[in-house]
Amino acid sequence: MSRLAFFFDSSACSGCKTCQMACKDKNDLPIGQVWRRVYEVTGGGWKQEGHSWVQDVVAYNLSIACNHCEDPVCANNCPTRAIRKREDGIVLIDQDSCIGCNYCAWACPYGAPQFNPDKGVMGKCDLCADYVDQGKNPSCVDACPMRALDFGEYDELLQRYGDSGHMYPLPDPSITQPSILVRPHQSAGGTGATVSNVEEVKSAQA
C-alpha cells in the first residue's frame, strides 16, 4: 500500500492563500468552507539584552488540509464507514453514505472534515483524487506561486526534503500519524506565538 503525502515549506510560504482559493475553486466549495486553510502565526516583540533592545518577532504561515493520515481517526470513528482509505493512502468521504453527524470532525485534530450545510454531509480534501488518477498534482500544489507545497510518495518526499519538524500549531503527530512533511520557518518555536486569524480559519469548523 503506498502512502501519498503533502510537503509544506513554511519558510517559503508568503501567506497569499492561493492554495486555499485553488482548493475552493476546484471543489466548488460554498462560502465558509475551506478544506485547505492558511494559519497566520505571529508573536514576539522587543526585548532588552544588556543595553540594547532586540526583536524576537515570530511571523510565519502554515498551510494545512487533510493529511491523509496513516491512522485516520475520522475513518475509525465514522459509524457508516463513509470514510475510507484508498490503496494509495488517500482518505475519501463517500458523501452518499455520510449522515452528517460531525463525529469525524470531533475526532480529527487537523480540522479536516467540515460540515457542508448545503448538502447536509461532511466534506474534506480528497487530495484531488481525480487529478491524481490522471497523473496530475493536486490543485493547491500547482497553484502555489512560491512552490511551498509539494505532493508525492511519503518516502520520496522524505528523501527529498528530510525529516519533518513539529511546528506550532500542529498537534502531536502521534495521534494520527499524518502523511505530511513540514519544513519549519526559522522563527517557528519562538515565544508567545499564536494564531492571528482564528476567526477566519475556525469559521468553517463551527
Partner: protein, 288 residues
C-alpha cells in the same frame, strides 16, 4: 457549545433517564424480600417500563435532529468494529427492544408483573448503552471530555434520574415500594447527587486549568460559569431536601406520602439538563 448539540443534550439525558429507571427497578427487585410490587403495567406513563420506553424512543427521535442527512441513518451500524458511535446506536436499539418485550409481557399478563428474567437483560442492555455512550466522548482530541468524569457523570445522571423517578412513582402508588427500600433509594439518591456535585467541581477545576490553545479560555467565565453555579446550587438543594427527610432524627422514612417530591423531581431533572449543557460546553479540540 456547538451549534447542533442541543439535540444531543436531550438524547443523552433522556436515554440515560430511561436506563436509570430500569436499572433502579431491577436493583430494587433484587433486594431480599418483597420490596417492590408493580401496580401499573398498562398503557400509562405511571407504568415505569412504558415511561422508560417513551424516554428511550423520544431520545432516539430527537437524536435525528443533529444529523445533516438522516436519510442515511440506517447505515449507522456499519462500523461496529471500530466506531463507538455505531456501538452506541446498537445499544439504544437493544435497550429499546428489550423494553418493548418487557412492556408487552407486562401488558399481556394479568398480574402487573415485570419478571427479573426480562428486567435483567433490559438492565444489561441499558448499561451497555451507558458504556458505549461514555466511550463516544472519550476522544483523545477533546480533552474536556476525555476524562473519568464523563462515565461518572453519565452513570450518576442515570442513577439520580432513575431513583427519583422510582420515588415519585412510589409516591403516586404506581409501584409499591417498602419503607426500607424507599429509605435505601433516598440514601443512594443523596449519594448520587453528592457524587455529581464533587465530580462537577473537579471537572470545572480541571477545565479552568486547561490549555485551550489559540481558542482562548472559555470555561470559567460568562454564561457557562453562571450555569455551573446555578446547577451546583440545584444539586445541593435537591440533595439536602431528600437528606433532611432521611437523616434527621425525627424524619419519617415514609417518603411515598411526601408531596414535595414533585419539585425535587423537577429540580433533579433540570440540573441534569444543565449539567449536560455544561458537558457539551466543555468541547474544544486539540490541534487546528
Amino acid at each position: 457549545m456547538l451549534r447542533r448539540d442541543g439535540s444531543l443534550v436531550f438524547f443523552t439525558t433522556l436515554s440515560q433517564w430511561g436506563v436509570g429507571i430500569v436499572v433502579s427497578l431491577t436493583g430494587l427487585l433484587l433486594l431480599p424480600g418483597d420490596e417492590v410490587v408493580f401496580a401499573e403495567s398498562g398503557i400509562s406513563l405511571a407504568n415505569p417500563v412504558l415511561l422508560a420506553l417513551v424516554l428511550s424512543l423520544l431520545a432516539t427521535t430527537v437524536s435525528f435532529l443533529h444529523l445533516g442527512n438522516p436519510i442515511n441513518a440506517f447505515k449507522t451500524l456499519n462500523n461496529l468494529a471500530t466506531s463507538w458511535l455505531s456501538r452506541e446506536i446498537l445499544g439504544i436499539g437493544l435497550f429499546s427492544l428489550s423494553l418493548v418485550v418487557l412492556f408487552a409481557y407486562g401488558w399481556s399478563s394479568d398480574q402487573n408483573e415485570f419478571p427479573l428474567f426480562l428486567l435483567i437483560p433490559a438492565s444489561l442492555a441499558g448499561l451497555f448503552l451507558l458504556w458505549t455512550m461514555a466511550y463516544v466522548y472519550l476522544l483523545p482530541t477533546v480533552p474536556g471530555w476525555n476524562s473519568g468524569h464523563t462515565p461518572i457523570s453519565f452513570a450518576a445522571t442515570a442513577l439520580c434520574l432513575g431513583l427519583v423517578t422510582c420515588l415519585v412513582l412510589g409516591m403516586t402508588g404506581s409501584i409499591l415500594i417498602s419503607k426500607s427500600a424507599t429509605y435505601l433509594c433516598a440514601v443512594v439518591l443523596v449519594a448520587g447527587l453528592l457524587l455529581e456535585t464533587v465530580s462537577g467541581l473537579m471537572r470545572q477545576r480541571q477545565l479552568a486549568a486547561m490549555n485551550t490553545g489559540f481558542d482562548g479560555p472559555r470555561f470559567d467565565h460568562g454564561a457557562l460559569r453562571t450555569l455551573f453555579v446555578v446547577r451546583l446550587g440545584a444539586l445541593l438543594v435537591a440533595a439536602f431536601s431528600i437528606a433532611s427527610f432521611v437523616l434527621l432524627p425525627d424524619s419519617s422514612p415514609d417518603l411515598v406520602s411526601v408531596t414535595w417530591l414533585y419539585p425535587v423531581l423537577a429540580l433533579v431533572v433540570l440540573q441534569e439538563f444543565a449539567g449536560r449543557m455544561l458537558f457539551y460546553g466543555a468541547y474544544f479540540r486539540v490541534g487546528l
